[in-house]
Symmetry: C2
Subunit: 569 residues, 2 copies
């Protein structure tokens, strides 16, 4: 930082321009609300321009993430957005239908891929550094920049854009135990980030099985508008994604007998074992759950159902083969199973497993983690993902240490998803309400006297002195000196866009300032200060519900009170 | 800003890794030096990844620009990089051969243009806001983000990339005089920015003529490696681009008579006037200079030389036509002109202008601005451009106020060009030397005691206390606690990458700290402090040339001294 010369920070020109009346009680989607309130502009579905306040929220969020990632000893880098084709071909991801291709002028073939995620490019970059000693690991890098994904039908506004802002981090370790340590470091960093946002979140456990040692967590805000579903156990508190929630059910004789049973056939990768999966046709089969029971199973759909059965149709060929029958936990031996599909040879070749969780859980079923509690579903907005990759990319791209593939992890945070979710979760009848760390600014300053605004404040003016004090105490203010609006409109605008505080320089200024709070999440800090300070005058006004939203404070105590109020927001 | 919990800031993992010996005296180009020193990575010519230190320089530079643009009341916005095709078609720029085209997966036609500059998109955005009252103007917006340009043969490293970081600002005014006021505001902002970088720069005046009221300045660093040429007048000090420098010459009878004279024919847009331009074939004709004399001239090359002359070949058709002959200032009436190309009719239809500046200036010729001084050429690196656009974009895209087209200006700064130029200009035999405001960090901290680094510093440790003090005083330090390097290597690395200060916590710490400076641009601040302070112990060591590069300061004075030294860097 260099020593800045002081200048007044004013509300941006694009702030609240054109906003006259806004029916916020109506259920206008949050992305549309952010557009109406001039945070963002949407030139077309899935594309966004950031206006001053939207950019402000995004920058504050970047600051929170930077702070926590740096503390976790991650190096910040930034890759170019034009990504070379070759490594995408090497890892087999080039044909992903969501990748944007770029070609130069007059070119007939594609020159680049627009960066969608950076496992390939980061692996290549770290490979270049050739860290040779085990002591030099872990190598931890992250970036925050635009990513691109060709969503054919972008919906959900900011939640699912064609161009979006993502934090993506990568860890490189010499073995799996150390990779798990890096994973834990990132988990701690994520907790710091999401706690700073003062919004309750859950971490959904995923893949508790042992498929190739992979480990994955999804970070969610629970909210009715969310597009994902997670289950929470009433007993052990375990949270998991719907695709990952293993559940049991109370099966009655009646329910078992009346269930319409479906079957799906799988084969193992060596073509030796037929897997018959029986489940209720009213429920959704989760193939990944089948894999937990039969790790060698082939989920690639390379063979049709008929082709699989054909392999087992010749009785003479069955001698070296096996058959496994899996019964979902919602069935039992009384359930009406379909006919057995292949010639029967010997009971010894067939094993049958009962009471296996094979379908998506439903509300009220039994948690398979603790075997006691019941599962409660909740809609969720996914905002982050941590993933242990193992050697998936390092082996194909040849990143090794001591001739062994480096063990990688990748860690994403969707910044626009957080902006959208925070907007959604905290909005109320008055408009948006940003947690202080992501508010476009901390406090709107309004001077009720006319004709002192513009460039008319002198260096020694009381307003300038107050602004200097705010700035030197790290309080990010904006002066609303627009001449065409009255006090009421200015307060209204500030509340509408969700600024935590309005500081009014009213009739009693410079002896006193008035501070109005947009909301109070807790009263911990200011109440404590209020009860213990005896050096300056401080009045509070309560509304009918006993909530305090207005403070009148002697100038000499203003900064202290503002800081305490912001700590609670 | 939210209240951050303190944590030690360490040098990044990618800092100086792999750097053993480096022959900096050799004339390795600066981009290659930045690659070798791990500031950037160049996956292919014209493409760049930013490593921690390169990103640090870039972020500091963004901060300087943000500060000054905000002070000039510009709103910061950020456009998406996927730009819709339509407006590029409307303004006729879609076929620019340097535009990258993007298509989605499976698409057969282009979907987007990668943002190259944003006159179209910004004009559309401001149009959307429909500022209706003249009082709401000027509207001033800027962004700092990636831009893309398909350079077929990218060269000059960071100076000319396919993907580059640019600050682009735009002003919108209701009339030309107010647009000029905005232009002046930006000029002042640019002076603040370039002064903060503590590197001498020049502003090249351009287009002093009155072609459609356009006005343009180029901002340059003068340096022998620059790809542009500017001329400076020894008398009036006027600086101008080679394409814009009007010059006169001393013409002797001999030189006039022996010059080999060339001629080029032009025609006015109404096809009524033939313009015969005579100039020395040894010199380069500047067609824009011709336009200064004949504003209605057609420079589009729509007709060949033969086609132009054919229009004037029929004597009977010449009655309503005119002929203008322009003689470059390096010719006179004795110069051997080519034959007159069309039938002669009447002297009254022909006018001849002598002594007109029509060719590129050369060293030592006479400045046409003051008519007195001589012109000195210098190589220059262009780092910024300010341009008055008039209604070029607002009229084609329909941005009006009171039924008149809005008057626009656009203002660019090439951030990577500045990084490259500062690297180039300030490097010396020891490595890079960053002006403090753009250094990756201000000071490298080295603790000579072994085995106290890592996570072993306690909250109360003297090193932690000093780091906290540095941070709270806005001094951006990094602790180099890498165990595999000794003090000498650490100091060497810090100097190599151009960090302004090294703070050594040596044998006399915590009573004293040693401060080594990478360079001193002036001694103004620290000398003044040195002469006036009497409260703490402070030793300086001079080298043979009397320069001070090392200070030993009592701990209680350290922050003050560090601040003073940084002020001079």
């Amino acid at each position: 930082m260099f020593r800045r010369q002081f200048h007044l920070k004013r509300v941006p020109k694009l702030y609240c321009h054109g906003i006259k009346q806004l029916d916020l009680v109506s259920s206008i989607p949050t992305t549309d609300l952010l557009v109406k309130l001039n945070f963002i502009h949407q030139p077309r579905s899935g594309l966004f321009n950031y206006l001053p306040m939207g950019l402000g929220v995004l920058d504050k969020l970047k600051g929170v993430i930077d702070e926590s990632m740096t503390r976790a000893n991650f190096d910040k880098v930034q890759l170019g957005l034009l990504s070379l084709l070759e490594s995408w071909r090497t890892t087999g991801r080039y044909n992903n239908p969501e990748l944007y291709k770029v070609r130069g002028a007059g070119g007939t073939k594609d020159d680049y891929v627009l960066l969608a995620t950076a496992e390939e490019d980061m692996t290549q970059l770290i490979k270049l550094f050739a860290f040779a000693s085990p002591k030099e690991y872990p190598v931890l890098v992250y970036q925050i920049n635009d990513k691109f994904r060709d969503e054919l039908r972008p919906r959900g506004g900011l939640l699912r854009g064609k161009e979006f802002v993502m934090k993506d981090g990568y860890s490189f370790d010499i073995d799996e135990p150390l990779a798990m340590k890096s994973y834990k470091t990132v988990t701690e960093a994520y907790h710091r980030i999401f706690k700073a946002l003062k919004t309750p979140y859950v971490v959904a456990d995923a893949d508790t099985g042992d498929i190739g040692g992979s480990l994955s967590h999804e970070w969610h805000y629970l909210h009715p508008t969310g597009g994902d579903t997670v289950f929470t156990c009433t007993n052990c508190g375990n949270v998991s994604n719907v695709e990952k929630t293993l559940s049991y059910a109370e099966v009655t004789e009646e329910s078992a007998k009346t269930t319409e049973v479906g079957v799906k056939y799988f084969i193992t990768k060596d073509d030796k074992t037929l897997v018959c999966v029986y489940y209720s046709l009213q429920r959704q089969l989760q193939e990944s759950f089948v894999a937990l029971e039969v790790p060698d199973i082939d989920l690639s759909n390379r063979l049709s159902q008929e082709e699989i059965l054909a392999i087992f149709s010749d009785k003479d060929q069955l001698i070296d083969k096996r058959i496994v029958r899996l019964m979902d936990a919602r069935l039992n031996h009384r359930s009406p199973l379909p006919d057995f599909p292949v010639p029967f040879i010997s009971r010894s070749l067939i094993s049958t497993l009962f009471d296996v969780p094979l379908v998506s859980a439903e509300e009220g079923e039994i948690c398979a983690v603790c075997d006691e509690g019941t599962l409660q579903p909740a809609k969720a907005i996914e905002i982050g993902h941590t993933f242990y990759l193992g050697d998936k990319y390092s082996s194909s791209l040849g990143l090794t240490i001591d001739s062994k593939s480096v063990q990688m992890g990748c860690y994403g945070i969707g910044l626009l998803r957080i902006v959208a979710a925070l907007g959604e979760i905290h909005r109320d009848g008055k408009g948006l309400r940003w947690p202080r760390v992501t508010a476009p600014w901390d406090a709107t300053l309004i001077d009720i006297r006319k004709n002192v605004g513009g460039d008319h404040y002198s260096e020694n003016h009381d307003v300038v002195q107050l602004c200097k004090q705010l700035e030197s105490n790290g309080i990010d203010y904006r002066l609303d000196d627009r001449s065409k609006y009255r006090l009421g409109s200015k307060v209204h605008h500030s509340n509408l866009v969700g600024i935590p505080l309005v500081i009014i320089l009213g009739k009693r200024f410079p002896q006193y300032v008035e501070i109005e709070t947009r909301y109070t999440t807790s009263m911990e800090h200011w109440k404590h200060l209020y009860e213990h300070q005896h050096t300056f005058h401080w009045e509070v006004e309560q509304d009918g519900d006993g909530n305090v939203h207005k403070h009148t404070v002697a100038l000499e105590g203003a900064i202290q009170v503002i800081e305490a109020l912001l700590e609670d927001m």
